[in-house]
Symmetry: C2
Subunit: 304 residues, 2 copies
């Protein structure tokens, strides 16, 4: 029996308070309104952004809240004006949009930091996002991929992602950007910041070579953060930019990436990102793994 | 009689103390050492960088000092190891180098902020550098060129440089970047910062459109300045970069620009930048013009 147009009751893991375990309970979900879609979520993973919004350190608390934006599922029903999705479609929710009509949606898609063959790359943060950046650099033929992380447990598993050198900022009594500049005789060609720490962003920018270095910010900052650097670091011809989803457009580009993954055309080994798996009832375990820095992605099975 | 290899005596305008009038006196100039060239300067202009180093506000005082880096002249003699210049060559001194052998000197020359036809551009600072940026935008076919300056006297003469709109930050009780974002329905496509004020740099960056906006810093900052912005302004796909000489390489590119100017191939009207002219004895007048914001470039004739 179709549930379209009706309020439905679903299980959800609800965050009621900052940092407190999620509580699995029944919630009511309204039918999709104009330009909305209702999705039956089948799987989700966690990333540090979930942890930030759950712990609310440096964010405005907003509770109750249902987390889990790294999800996938099936369209259950669609609201008025939705013509390009129908019940049964497999979808990934994405936090940017693409109407294909406005100025935002025109223009060529750019792989922001794409290094040239033989170039050097620094990756800040060895979570799943940083390792994905390293994997991308490896596939592009980077000659050196230098990883920066304060958690040395990450280093062993990270070798599988093409990383050639590790730097733990805690091992040095000078800023990590100076360490990298010395290691590389002037700085790396590209850097990618994947932690969201504003200090790491500054280090990532200041460790790229003058004249041509490009730093890309990917990690999500806190509400009151300020990126700060001497303007001369920019005048000496460094470039600083940022991106969500590596500038992939959600409707034009992401389905193509998924197809390539399914057809094993990517040249990337994506499965190594999934290190743990739990049924929905154990979602708090997934938070524990992330807080303790264990593994990369824990797949949460909503139907299990 | 050749003066090569000898100490020579020349007239120079010497700054002995911060902000005090220059004193014209005879100085001794040593013969050029290894990889050095001795140039007979014929003309020079002043820019605000001279004023900064002369006033020493926010710089370490370094006196006595002979200013005047916007110069041109003729090679008088060359030191050991100089093979590509000879006495009599017409030259412009440049504060970057190009050996054509190192990594810095490879790679394509890029016009950093080059707008596409129809795009909108904001230019911060209506000195000669800002007006040159506006002129460049005009030649590229920018649809709107919005100039920002706190000196409204600049506005009338700036119209000749293709500027279509003027914003005086003093006329508003909100940050000028917000004014520009409102004027343009989201921000300009490109901005160029030509004042060296760190607050103007921040405004120039924050007034470009998210998704594709590019801000280029050109103005020279002070010693202790800090560029500061919320990292989310970068994550929403703005690009921040800087350049000296618009990324023109001194030996590969600048002679080509000079030839194009001499052959009137530039499509640019360069002569309108020179608004005043004084003999060397009146060099302090050129400083007065600059301090009072009168005119654009004052040509100082060293032989007159």
């Amino acid at each position: 029996m179709s549930t379209a147009g009706q309020v439905i009751r679903c299980k959800a893991a609800v965050a009621w308070e900052a940092g407190k375990p999620l509580s699995i309970e029944e919630v009511e979900v309204a039918p999709p309104q104009k330009h909305e879609v209702r999705i039956k979520i089948l799987f989700t993973a966690l990333c540090h952004t979930d942890v930030y919004y759950w712990e609310c350190k440096g964010y405005t608390p907003l509770f109750p809240r249902i987390l889990g934006h790294e999800a996938s599922g099936i369209v259950e029903s669609v609201g008025e004006g939705v013509n390009d999705l129908k019940p049964g479609d497999h979808v990934l929710p994405i936090f940017t949009g693409e109407c294909k009509e406005c100025r935002h949606c025109f223009g060529a898609t750019v792989n922001v930091a794409k290094p040239k063959k033989g170039q050097t790359v620094a990756v800040f943060g060895l979570g799943a996002v940083g390792l994905a950046a390293a994997e991308g650099a490896r596939v592009c033929g980077a000659s050196r991929i230098i990883a920066v992380d304060v958690n040395p447990r990450r280093f062993e598993e990270a070798k599988r992602f093409g990383i050639t050198e590790f730097v733990n900022p805690k091992d040095y009594d000078k800023p990590v950007q100076e360490v990298i500049v010395e290691m590389t005789g002037g700085g790396v060609d590209r850097s990618v910041e994947c932690t969201g720490s504003v200090q790491a962003m500054i280090s990532a920018f200041e460790c790229v070579h003058d004249g041509w270095g490009v730093c890309v910010l990917v990690g999500v900052p806190k509400k009151d953060d300020a990126f700060k650097t001497h303007p001369m670091n920019l005048l000496s011809e460094r470039t600083l930019k940022g991106a969500f989803y590596g500038n992939y457009k959600p409707r034009t580009d992401i389905p193509m990436v998924v197809d390539k993954y399914l057809n094993k055309e990517l040249g990337l080994d994506m499965d190594k990102f999934i290190t743990h798996s739990v049924p929905f009832a154990d979602i708090n375990k997934a938070f524990d793994y992330m807080l303790q820095g264990i593994g990369l992605r824990c797949m949460i099975h909503l139907d299990a």
